[in-house]
Symmetry: C2
Subunit: 201 residues, 2 copies
């Protein structure tokens, strides 16, 4: 059984959303599973002394143009949220809690969160809204709201972010690792595809 | 006659070197000329509050890995200089001075500068070495050394950098513009190729 593709993301990252739409078909083509790992990009940025892309004077404008262009390139629905970025603790903790027992349901939940933010421009920092989305994939809403406030889940997510940033050295999103090889950026999914096809170079 | 591809670069940028090797064949395929424009990435970085890639704690290590991997991918000779980055005023001013009368010779000179730094790891901040390379493409060495110290050439280059960063809004390298469309990064040359093939999307 070939190793899975690890996919590190922040629910608030436009390129992570785009990457989430691109990695699925590539993984399928190569018979690989995708393991989703939400983290807090802000924690990585603090250590790197970097900022959300849109906050850079020139790179910010280019990025906004490029989010749209990349989405059009791949026919991915995309509407840049006006209120950006968002702190997405509720969704991230919720993902972790769902994934303990049921990774596929957690992924379906994550896809809906991305859609809510980057297509429908809903406020994914709102725990009530996030819990409503969890309900759509069959999760009990009040159990979800309780879980994301529990010290156990909070601690587990904090430890996971720490491991991703300090342990795995993930500094941006989307960040993919397959067979020990790291690829950063939605625009590197094609290269990851080539890497798996050719067995590296 | 189709418009040329504008290629903005800093002689000290590994990705600009890699981009310089990738853009040629793509331009040729589409019957486009490449216009080379050296600038000072440091000036753009100051405004953006960004730093040379290798200076970021985590992104720095990833970048070093990725310079090599990108070079291997495209069979481009590459040896990361230990002494990095370099201030490349002599080469940039020299390019501008040569290009006034002879753009093809200026490009041949630029290609040799890139080779000197990123293959042979020579000190391209040294005006003597740079003038020696100019000589290899048929330029008079003492005239070159005199030109790069002349107030006219110094001012012209300063104005050109100002126009590139403030006017054209170039914040990184390599940065390509074709038919009004901007593409940032050596890894976007493939997308630029697709853009020209498909006439945009």
């Amino acid at each position: 059984m070939p190793l899975p593709i690890d996919f590190y993301f922040d629910f608030s990252s436009p390129y992570a959303y785009l990457g989430s739409r691109l990695i699925g078909p590539v993984a399928k083509k190569h018979g690989r599973e995708v393991r989703w790992h939400p983290f807090m990009l802000g924690v990585a940025m603090k250590g790197e002394k970097t900022f959300p892309l849109t906050q850079y004077p020139l790179k910010g404008d280019y990025s906004r143009m490029d989010f749209d262009r990349t989405a059009r390139r791949h026919n991915i629905p995309f509407n840049m949220p006006v209120d950006f970025p968002k702190v997405t603790l509720a969704a991230s903790r919720g993902f972790l809690w769902i994934a303990v027992n049921d990774q596929p349901t957690a992924i379906a939940f994550a896809q809906k969160i991305f859609q809510a933010y980057f297509v429908d421009n809903r406020d994914i920092s709102d725990p009530e809204l996030v819990a409503g989305i969890a309900e759509e994939v069959g999760i009990d809403k009040s159990a979800f709201l309780e879980a994301i406030q529990s010290p156990t889940v909070k601690e587990a997510f904090k430890a996971s972010v720490e491991e991703i940033v300090s342990g795995k050295k993930v500094f941006g999103a989307p960040y993919f690792v397959v067979d020990g090889e790291a690829f950063w950026g939605a625009d590197r999914v094609g290269q990851l595809d080539d890497w798996l096809t050719e067995g590296g170079w």
